[in-house]
Symmetry: C2
């Protein structure tokens, strides 16, 4: 595998700029200038702006697989406190790639390739959460639920986690430590309804 130091540098700078100002406001010229690289050179490494976003998605995928592998390996029977720890991990992950979550619907609407790739990640994640819920029920920490209900509960957890940063932004609180704290409390309340 080639080193591609410049390519990686561009990718990280772009991620930073996107997080700060959103993809629409950041041009390839901005990215090139901030990276200390000429526009022509940028276009040597990337076909266009969408291609840069896809490059960042590669980074996300790698980081996510790494993080989730640890979770999937670790505690199979899952108690509430482990759920919360996982929630906190994902929140930090989301913060690192905040522009992506913020613009997710627009981004995948404008790039079919990205849409397909995200769908796969989405389904994998949902599947993982489903298995965690199953294990937790089997371990007797949650009330028994039908297959449909397990699926819905997992989806609810995933959705809360996926969009919590957006909710915080939209409600006027930034992404403070306090916001994450409230998120975990919310998740705890949700699960309490189903504890034995």
């Amino acid at each position: 595998m080639p080193k591609q130091k410049t390519r990686d540098k561009i990718l990280l700078i772009a991620l930073d700029l996107f997080n700060q100002s959103g993809t629409a406001a950041v041009s390839t010229n901005h990215i090139a200038a901030a990276s200390g690289v000429s526009p022509g050179n940028l276009y040597y490494h990337f076909r266009n702006k969408d291609d840069i976003v896809r490059g960042i998605f590669d980074l996300m995928e790698a980081a996510s697989r790494e993080g989730f592998a640890a979770i999937a390996d670790g505690a199979q029977p899952l108690r509430a406190d482990v759920f919360e720890e996982t929630f906190r991990f994902i929140c930090q992950f989301n913060r690192r790639f905040s522009f992506f979550k913020r613009e997710l619907p627009s981004l995948i609407a404008g790039d079919p390739q990205l849409k397909e790739r995200f769908k796969i990640v989405h389904q994998e994640t949902l599947g993982l959460i489903c298995r965690l819920v199953d294990a937790t029920i089997d371990a007797g920490f949650l009330k028994p639920l039908s297959g449909r209900e397990r699926q819905l509960l997992a989806e609810m957890c995933w959705m809360l986690t996926l969009f919590w940063p957006n909710y915080l932004e939209v409600s006027g609180e930034g992404d403070s430590e306090e916001g994450i704290e409230r998120g975990t409390k919310m998740l705890r309340l949700l699960l309490r309804g189903f504890q034995v």
Copy 2:
């Protein structure tokens, strides 16, 4: 109040185009052309593109106050089925202004004025839901909860409703009738955890 037929026409056409392609992809020229109006005329009625978005927000505010007034007036003690009907109403509302929900975080990040205005609507809505939850608990349909917990439960309901369309888009299902159906089921499951 002046008639401003042209202004309204531009607003509705813009709403349509934004819903179809997103705000970033739609220029003032596009809007003018689609409205059968010259670019100069468009700029007579609106200062710039953000101003058009704000105009659409005016429409949303009016429609939302109207709809919520009916809800707030009606059934104060709220059972699960009424919750669901409300959810469905909001889903349709969201669909009519889908671009706004889709791009909400980006939009308010780029326009402080809009941010402030949405914050107010957000707090009003949350307050309304809180009162509904209170009334439902007082009526004995839900388990008693502390003030904090009521607040969190209301927030969870609101968030699920606010971002459900986004979730559907992102997960690869469009906004089908089936998607709305699953949303109501999810809400029902959430509430079941707190029923007496």
